[in-house]
């Protein structure tokens, strides 16, 4: 990449240490130095226990770092959070049973104090974008898992956040739904130009979606490699059949420290 790009998120020697039930220290993450550009789609990839979710949560201010720090647009994560610039998509669609799909999408906007009309308009727009327009007045328990996750994504985009943090959002979905949502996500990302941090343990998924894949290795959790994914955009599902795609997948797989996972 030759052009000069703005750095949006920067971590410096980031480390997180937990205490387990026996009172012993467990290093979840150590010495992470990472720069994420504005508008970039970046994946944090690794097996369970590699600290990828911990890294995401540290950036989102959900986790206090033990060492090092995080800077986002020159601010601390907390300042960014209080300015409500984050969108977060959890692994489970954290929907509220007692609210309709549309009301679920409106919730963060209610908290931010958007006017009623504005909320409604934006929610409609978001639901249209994820293809749930016809289900706006349904309740979450009437939707399939894939539709629930779409609603979840619509909610995260609804606030028009600068940074979207996604913690294994598609891991509980079937392959067909997942592929459909991959394409949708890329389309929405292109249209909105957000910075997306995407956590996954699926190599193909990471390679298909991202500009760069950050490979994390466990024991202790650390950043072991960053792989540039220079496949042309817009990408379609056919990309997955190309030999270059598979080359990159192999490259990512080989970059795990300690060999195969």
């Amino acid at each position: 990449m030759s052009e000069v790009r703005d750095i949006e998120i920067k971590t410096r020697e980031l480390g997180v240490t937990f205490q387990d039930n026996a009172g012993r220290d467990v290093t979840a993450l150590t010495g992470v130095n990472l720069e994420i550009y504005k508008g970039e789609f970046i994946t944090l990839l690794g097996p369970s226990g590699c600290g990828k979710t911990t890294l995401l949560r540290s950036i989102a201010d959900l986790q206090k770092p033990t060492t090092g720090d995080v800077h986002i647009q020159g601010m601390t994560p907390k300042e960014v959070r209080l300015q409500q610039k984050f969108g977060f998509v959890f692994q489970q669609p954290v929907l509220f049973d007692w609210r309709t799909v549309k009301k679920n999408v409106e919730l963060p906007m209610e908290i931010m104090g958007y006017s009623k009309g504005e909320r409604s308009d934006r929610a409609d727009e978001m639901l249209e974008m994820v293809g749930l327009k016809d289900f706006a007045n349904h309740y979450p328990n009437q939707l399939s898992g894939g539709m629930q996750q779409r609603a979840n994504i619509a909610r995260a985009f609804g606030l028009d956040p600068d940074i979207l943090l996604m913690d294994e959002p598609f891991s509980a979905l079937d392959e067909f739904t997942k592929e459909k949502l991959h394409e949708d996500l890329l389309r929405i990302w292109r249209a909105t130009n957000k910075t997306i941090l995407f956590v996954t343990h699926n190599i193909q998924e990471g390679v298909f979606l991202s500009d760069r894949v950050c490979v994390l290795s466990p024991h202790p959790g650390r950043l072991s490699a960053i792989v540039d994914i220079d496949i042309e955009r817009p990408r379609t599902l056919e990309v997955k059949e190309s030999s270059y795609f598979n080359e990159l997948v192999t490259k990512v797989r080989n970059s795990f420290e300690g060999g195969s996972v």
């Binding site: 959900l62 959070r81 509220f96 007692w98 919730l107 349904h138 309740y139 328990n141």
Partner: protein, 270 residues
């Protein structure tokens, strides 16, 4: 015809109906046996139609009231107090749960006592509450309130605790203020649990208020029941009360179910 019958048997109400019919048959068979072997069968097991006739009879059982009038007027006295206690207890129970959720220290202080009160036979306290307050109406309210308080408090607290960590995380990411978390997340999430508490509490409140009546001869359903049992008036008044209180006990549970159904549209469309 056979298929139609099969569709019918698959309905849940059908088997309920079947059981109710069976119970009625069993009752009537019992009543026939009793009628032929006992000197005063209506004390033991009258026929159902006899009870129904007594309900519609225009004969006065007290100075100026028929059996049904007597039952209903004392029921109004008893159940209104019971209802007041129920509402009071439920409200205090809800506030209690809320306060315990808001303050970790208060939760630690109060939780063991909340558990303890469940193990105490509160109805056994009815006579002493009457002795302390010296007023039957106040006692009714207090006992019904205590009995309603703890199921509501424990269930509502369980409801607050049922909220997943992700929902808090989501609120945290949105930088939501604490009062917003309560009104938009915690209280709606606890609502079904609150209703479960109410459903447990309501029949207990009915039982309590009738029981407190029997402790003092000051009117009320329980008092009427005692008088009828002592043959101070027609024994059918007793049978009417038995059926009436059973009906009320079942009805209050249903009514709360309907209210819950009414205020939670998301349950309707599932």
């Amino acid at each position: 015809m056979k298929e139609k019958f099969e569709v019918l048997t698959n309905k849940k109400w059908f088997s309920s109906l079947l059981w109710i019919l069976l119970l009625i048959i069993a009752w009537e068979v019992g009543a026939f046996v009793v009628a032929n072997t006992k000197r005063i069968p209506e004390n033991v097991l009258p026929h159902l139609y006899q009870i129904i006739i007594a309900g519609f009879s225009t004969d006065k059982v007290t100075g100026d009231m028929t059996a049904t009038q007597a039952v209903l007027s004392s029921a109004a006295q008893t159940l209104l107090r019971g209802f007041l206690g129920f509402v009071l207890g439920a409200a205090i129970g809800f506030v209690f749960a809320l306060v315990m959720k808001m303050s970790g220290v208060l939760e630690k202080v109060l939780f063991p006592y909340l558990m303890l009160i469940q193990l105490i036979p509160v109805l056994g306290l009815a006579p002493i509450v009457l002795a302390i307050t010296g007023d039957i109406n106040v006692s009714r309210v207090i006992i019904a309130a205590i009995l309603s308080f703890y199921p509501v408090a424990t269930n509502t607290l369980a409801g607050f605790k049922s909220v997943e960590k992700e929902k808090y995380d989501l609120m945290f990411i949105c930088a939501a203020k604490p009062h917003v978390i309560y009104t938009k997340v915690l209280i709606p999430a606890a609502l079904p649990y609150f209703f479960t508490g109410l459903k447990i509490a309501a029949p207990m409140a009915v039982t309590a208020s009738i029981l407190v009546d029997t402790l003092q001869g000051d009117g009320g359903l329980g008092c009427l029941l005692s008088q009828s049992l002592k043959h101070a008036m027609s024994i059918y008044v007793f049978w009417l009360i038995v059926f009436f209180s059973a009906f009320v006990g079942i009805l209050v549970g249903k009514v709360i179910g309907w209210i819950e159904y009414g205020v939670s549209p998301w349950k309707r469309r599932a």
